[in-house]
């Protein structure tokens, strides 16, 4: 970035941050401290690449991935906020952005967002999550489609399937054929979020409107309605078609078997593409497309990661935040970051015909744009987009119990889900 535009940026945002400002000392570089859970794999690689780009633009990058999962990262964030030393930037998503912004001071990004004309090119759901109380305080980095279906090419060939099922009925028929041929129809794992995800894909496929009412608005009638019941029924089928050794397993343990045709179909978010690539598999090894939608129209179950910006007193962090915001909002951020992770760029005006992207990503990005137009975007439950963690965790507990206990009937499962929501409300 040229010196001129950096000065312009400095001057432009002078009006925004009301606190008394001390300019960057001569020779001091913009700095940023980042906390995330992305320490390895394609996610780790992507954020490392972002770091290199940040340094190329003249900043100092300090990324501290927290080992473990999201909870450990939140723990670290909590501890740092208690200590009065939050990171400049941290990974956060969904309703948690609103919740955490109440316990720590965040940066108002409105001016920068307006300057970049960002809001116009971002899906409205993401914009809403990023500015929970009116001002932009977080920036989305990447988006994923949850309701994606992967079919193993080898398994598909064995049962004579050449294109993806469109409705759940077609899916079930294919699953029966696979079962008869000795293939395990469903290659999902058995972790809690996986179980929750299978249910939400089922419900989204049955009716996105019912999903919106039941999951995002927690409407009691919808929760006790026929669509949710149908979703439970479909979930029971999915759990019976899964590998008996699935409970407690991450889906990646089944990768090898999925690719060589022993397991047939995987209902997973688009990031699985990145995992496949990292494990050395080719796009020609699998078919990819949207998960079954009973009404045949496009629906997009959204998951995304964002960076939230915490207020820091020191000018080098403030400059660093501005620099990072600029990089993230730029049009070339998507091709740089999302090509590595297999995600979809947040900007709907990104050109995906460049080489780094796979057909699967292009198709998903198209689906997202279409769904946004048609207002058929829903937020993921299992990946903590639709509800704050309290409620989401309570619902997922019911779902994971249901998946692993065949004695619970769909009616009973539905009752328990409604009760859990009431209890957690």
């Amino acid at each position: 970035m040229s010196i001129v535009s950096r000065r312009m940026l400095l001057a432009g945002s002078a009006a925004v941050l009301a606190a008394p400002r001390v300019a960057l000392a001569q020779g001091e570089k913009p700095k940023v401290t980042v906390i995330s859970q992305w320490s390895a794999g394609s996610d780790g690689l992507a954020i490392t690449t972002l770091g290199k780009r940040f340094e190329q633009e003249g900043g100092v990058w300090e990324h501290n991935p927290v080992p473990g999962f999201t909870t450990e990262m939140m723990n670290k964030l909590r501890a740092q906020i208690i200590a009065g030393d939050p990171p400049a930037v941290s990974q956060l998503k969904g309703p948690e952005i609103a919740a955490w912004s109440k316990v720590g001071a965040v940066v108002d990004l409105d001016a920068q967002v307006k300057d970049a004309g960002y809001e116009a090119v971002v899906p409205v759901e993401l914009a809403r999550l990023s500015k929970p109380y009116g001002a932009w305080i977080a920036l989305p980095i990447q988006a994923y489609r949850i309701n994606t279906l992967f079919v193993s090419k080898k398994a598909a060939d064995r049962v004579g399937v050449s294109k993806l099922p469109v409705t759940w009925a077609e899916f079930n028929a294919i699953a029966e054929r696979m079962k008869a041929a000795g293939i395990t129809p469903v290659a999902n794992g058995g972790l809690k979020w996986d179980d929750g995800m299978k249910w939400e894909i089922a419900l989204c496929g049955v009716s996105p409107d019912a999903y919106r009412a039941a999951v995002m608005q927690l409407d009691d009638k919808a929760l006790k309605g026929p669509e949710v019941l149908a979703a439970f029924g479909q979930l029971r089928k999915l759990s019976e078609w899964s590998d008996p050794g699935a409970p407690g397993q991450h889906y990646s343990t089944f990768l090898a078997r999925f690719m060589n045709g022993e397991m047939g179909m995987l209902l997973m978010g688009g990031w699985a593409q990145g995992v496949f690539k990292h494990a050395g598999f080719q796009p020609s090894d699998y078919l990819i497309g949207p998960a079954p939608q009973d009404d045949g129209k496009v629906a997009f179950d959204l998951n995304s990661d964002e960076f939230i910006f915490w207020q820091k007193k020191e000018p080098e962090y403030r400059e660093g935040q501005k620099l990072l915001a600029k990089i993230v909002m730029a049009k070339d951020f998507g091709p740089m970051y999302c090509a590595i992770t297999g995600s979809i760029p947040v900007r709907t005006d990104t050109d995906l015909s460049t080489e780094g992207f796979s057909d699967g990503q292009r198709e998903a990005a198209r689906a997202m744009a279409e769904a946004v137009q048609a207002n058929r975007v829903v937020l993921s439950l299992a990946h903590n987009m639709a509800q704050p963690n309290q409620i989401a965790a309570a619902m997922i507990d019911v779902l994971t119990e249901y998946v692993h206990d065949g004695r619970i009937s769909p009616e009973e499962g539905q009752k328990r889900l409604a009760a859990a929501v009431d209890n957690a409300r």
């Binding site: 909870t71 909590r78 208690i82 050794g245 407690g248 397993q249 994971t400 206990d405």
Partner: protein, 297 residues
């Protein structure tokens, strides 16, 4: 009084009191803080607004917590019984003045050196039917062998018992062996003179003599069981579903994953209560024993 005398008077107090104060302060302070938070409305961060008993009633009504408490009873009982039995067996056998005692002792003690996370992870591999012992048996030809406890909701908690016993039996053995070896030699000689065989000597003389050690071992094992967290988290994650969840997991889940500090603290206080039920009588028992002993002396 010279400077040296004064200094000599003060210095011991400087050595005695600070560590005691820090230690007691830490225990009392942290417990008090947790109890206080359990009565507040804290969610993501501590928030000291009063909330009465709401958190307690909410936790008691939560399915998670109920399953966890039942699991703790099952796990605690099985863990203590098996660890104790195996530990006692090993201690008695090693006490027979066999050769290679050093090797056996090293073999049985080394699990203590391993962290709980590693134990849970490795046993998770072994007990996994698709990649562990069951697969090995199938590959070796015994295709009807089944060992699917880890993924069976009814048996998952017992899989945790296996891993837990593996880790702690050696510790029980060490304590019991130490106890066996400090039995009064005269008692043994008297039994020998009476013509008692080895079995009777153990049952009638030695075990009663190490009674206090047995109780100490039970208490240590029980508190291990109550505090079990890393092991279950790494082995089953509380699954399949919720079937092997334990109170510590629920506390961690509520406090840190769900951002419900107050409810998690209420659960922690209830867990502390269960610990107190075990420890307070034990503490009083030891106090009574010591008074009795000094009365005899």
């Amino acid at each position: 009084m010279s400077w040296r005398d004064r200094w000599g008077r003060v210095l011991p107090h400087l050595a005695i009191w600070p560590p005691i104060v820090i230690s007691c302060g830490y225990v009392l302070g942290f417990s008090a803080w947790t109890i206080w938070v359990s009565f507040t409305r804290s969610t993501l961060m501590p928030d000291y607004a009063w909330a009465g008993l709401r958190n307690y009633s909410s936790m008691l009504a939560t399915n998670n917590w109920r399953i966890a408490c039942v699991n703790l009873l099952i796990y605690g009982a099985c863990f203590v019984v098996f660890a104790m039995t195996i530990g006692l067996l090993l201690a008695v056998l090693i006490d027979q003045r066999i050769r290679a005692e050093n090797i056996y002792r090293a073999i049985f003690l080394y699990p203590l050196a391993v962290s709980f996370v590693v134990t849970g992870t490795v046993w998770g591999w072994l007990l996994n039917p698709s990649i562990g012992v069951q697969k090995l048996m199938h590959d070796l030809g015994w295709t009807s062998f089944r060992f699917e406890w880890l993924i069976d909701p009814n048996m998952a908690i017992y899989a945790v018992v296996i891993a837990g016993v593996w880790q702690a039996a050696g510790f029980a053995m060490a304590l019991l062996l130490a106890g066996l070896r400090s039995v009064d030699v005269d008692l043994l000689k008297a039994a020998q003179i009476d013509g008692a065989g080895p079995v009777r000597t153990y049952l009638r003389v030695i075990f009663p003599a190490i009674g206090p050690v047995l109780i100490a071992v039970v208490v240590m094992l029980l508190q291990f069981a109550i505090k079990t967290y890393d092991l279950v988290a790494a082995l089953t994650g509380g699954g399949p579903g919720l079937s092997s969840t334990l109170p510590t997991l629920v506390i961690y889940d509520f406090m840190f994953q769900r951002g419900e500090l107050a409810r998690g603290s209420a659960a922690a206080v209830m867990l502390l209560g269960s610990l107190a039920i075990v420890l307070v009588p034990y503490g009083l028992y030891r106090l009574w024993r010591r008074r009795a002993a000094s009365a005899h002396a």
